[in-house]
């Protein structure tokens, strides 16, 4: 917590009348002291509610901290026990595997492909039609998660859901028979907007003259896509894939639909952490799993930063 001691706490009024030791050299005439005072409140909040929790996770993860009982008052340091337990725990393996499948199929494959196809086909549609489809996709993205979760519960309901009415399969419990597939399709529906927007912008950067040339030499759709379009948008594809993977990996919304069930069959990592730590009270173990999650986030983010550097 080095940051905390260097900065004044957020509650204190910024020291406005610091003695001006040096004449200000910046255009705004802020001077070092006031410049620091301007930055301090933001940094204090970031230090306490972002940096500190991340670092504290490392400590909690090596203790047997619980919400109730003796370990709540006197948590003991248990070293790497929590990590050893996680590595040997089939429920954790299950959760990691489900998370991998969930991110792979709903983000990397689903949102990417659907977003790209939408971006590509919408550009050839009439503007009115285009705006309607785009708005629908965007709406799915911006409506609060609690609402969309219920909309999907209504859609997939066993007895009276819209899907069963349309398919005339009343009584079929989608969320019990195919829980993971359900939340994968839900997440494709929920998050495709970002990929669509990004690919729309990317496709606009492909030079029309090259597309025209491809058409004149009689290239097929697939050949044009592979040899003309793709080289131009390769960077965007990687950017998009990394961002949507990161967001999907950290998405808590599936909890609102299945709460991890039935029988842990949709207990992706965020839900696993909630169920063990917040709901089950095993803070130490939950923090150990959280640290693993933070590290996975870090790896994805570092890939992203490397990518940005290469493109510069």
């Amino acid at each position: 917590m080095a940051q905390k001691t260097e900065l004044p706490p957020a509650e204190q009024p910024a020291p406005a009348a610091k003695p001006r030791s040096k004449p200000a050299t910046d255009v705004a005439g802020l001077g070092r002291g006031r410049a620091a005072a301007f930055v301090a409140p933001a940094m204090a909040l970031i230090a306490v509610f972002l940096v500190f929790p991340a670092l504290w996770t490392i400590y909690i993860g090596i203790t047997n901290y619980r919400l109730t009982g003796v370990q709540a008052r006197e948590p003991e340091v248990v070293g790497v026990d929590n990590y050893v337990r996680a590595l040997g725990d089939p429920t954790f393996h299950n959760s990691l595997f489900l998370t991998l499948i969930f991110v792979l199929f709903s983000a990397v494959i689903g949102q990417n492909l659907l977003g790209f196809s939408l971006a590509r086909s919408l550009s050839t549609l009439r503007p009115v039609l285009r705006r309607v489809v785009e708005s629908l996709v965007l709406l799915a993205w911006i409506i609060p998660s609690s609402i969309v979760a219920f909309l999907w519960l209504a859609l997939l309901d066993r007895d009276a859901g819209t899907l069963n009415v349309l398919l005339q399969t009343s009584g079929f419990a989608w969320l019990i028979e195919y829980p993971l597939v359900s939340i994968i399709i839900f997440n494709i529906w929920r998050g495709t907007a970002f990929s669509m927007l990004l690919y729309s912008a990317a496709l606009a950067s492909v030079p029309p003259s090259q597309l025209e040339t491809a058409r004149l030499v009689g290239a097929s759709r697939w050949q044009t896509l592979r040899d003309v379009v793709f080289p131009h948008i390769r960077g965007h594809v990687l950017t998009n894939t990394l961002l949507i993977s990161l967001w999907t990996f950290n998405d808590f919304t599936p909890f609102l639909i299945t709460a991890g069930g039935p029988n842990d069959r949709t207990e992706i990592l965020p839900v696993y952490i909630y169920n063990t730590a917040i709901s089950g009270g095993q803070m130490g173990y939950g923090a150990a799993v959280s640290l693993i999650m933070l590290l996975i986030n870090l790896i994805i983010a570092l890939f992203y930063i490397r990518l940005l550097r290469e493109r510069k």
Binding site: D26, V27, A28, G29, L30, A35, A36, F38, V39, P41, A42, L45, I46, V48, F49, L50, V51, F52, P53, T57, I60, S117, S121, L125, V132, V133, L136, L138, L139, A140, W141, I142, I143, P144, S145, S146, I147, F150, L151, A154, L155, D157, T162, N164, V165, W189, F194, L197, W247, N250, F252, L256, P270, A277, I278, A287, S290, M293, N297, A301
Partner: protein, 273 residues
């Protein structure tokens, strides 16, 4: 048009229609059910009524939770805009060694330390600080998470303000706070509006942070309270859920339309997390 092109065209429009149906189908319920005298889970042509909206008044917590959502969203937006604007101004105008690295590090940090990955330490921190069941606590946590991206975006806006404006103001003897208030803020107003809307939309829809930090139903925002309408045994109260959902989603839709019309739908990397 050759028959082959014709088939291709038909196939194309069929696919577009299917995609449209896929996105529209779950949402139609939200539009029709609030006005249906016999609300059901399946889509139906409504038997028009406005009577369902009286359920909002009958539920003791419904309207209060919407007020809580407003408090959390506006509180966070004020804090984020004020702190991010001053910090971005300072970072844009004063040379501090390692400034750009610091900004990138903060941005990196805020995308890694998400509410989901950090729910355990955040819950424990608030528990130790005695801020469980405190709306101020929720505002602080959410602000901490949103500030890095807000500073980053606002610094871009600040950098585009010509420094000659401030130099002239200084010549006339304005203090640095006056310069910020009367010269810089009016110029970067679009940036401030973007950050406000972005913050409000983020907080409005956030479920996890208030879910783990607020236990008292009187303090819970709409996103959290809504769950109690349908998970606690028995059949869900569809009159209440449908009207409440509609009311709850209208503000973000209006704001989206506003931003779309005024600035075009520009978005930045982390605008929605």
């Amino acid at each position: 048009m050759s028959p082959r092109e014709m088939v291709g065209r038909i196939g194309f429009y069929t696919l577009v229609a299917l995609a449209t149906a896929f996105f529209a189908l779950p949402m139609l319920w939200l539009v029709s059910t609030p006005f249906d005298a016999q609300p059901g889970l399946a889509l139906a042509i409504p038997d028009p009524t406005l009577g369902n909206f009286s359920e909002l008044l009958d539920n003791r917590y419904a309207l209060g939770s919407l007020l809580n959502s407003i408090l959390l969203a506006v509180g966070t937006a004020l804090l984020v805009v004020a702190f991010a604007a001053t910090a971005a101004y300072s970072l844009s105008r004063v040379r501090i060694p390692g400034r750009d690295v610091l900004l990138y590090l903060l941005l990196l940090l805020s995308s890694i330390v998400t509410g989901t990955a950090a729910m355990v330490p955040i819950f424990l921190l608030m528990f130790e600080l005695g801020l469980i069941d405190s709306r101020v606590g929720v505002v602080l946590v959410l602000s901490g998470g949103l500030l890095p991206a807000a500073i980053f975006i606002l610094k871009d806006f600040m950098d585009s303000v010509p420094k000659s404006y401030e130099e002239s103001a200084r010549v006339f003897g304005a203090s640095s706070f006056q310069i910020l208030k009367d010269v810089v803020v009016p110029v970067i107003r679009p940036g401030l509006a973007t950050i406000s809307v972005w913050t409000i939309v983020n907080v409005w829809g956030n479920f996890l942070v208030p879910f783990i930090l607020l236990r008292d139903a009187d303090k819970q925002p709409a996103a959290v309270l809504m769950r109690t309408f349908y998970t606690e045994g028995g059949s869900p109260n569809l009159e209440l859920i449908s009207t409440f959902s509609l009311l709850f989603s209208v503000p973000v839709i209006v704001m989206y339309l506003f931003v779309n019309r005024k600035y075009g739908f520009r978005f930045y990397g982390g605008i929605k997390s």
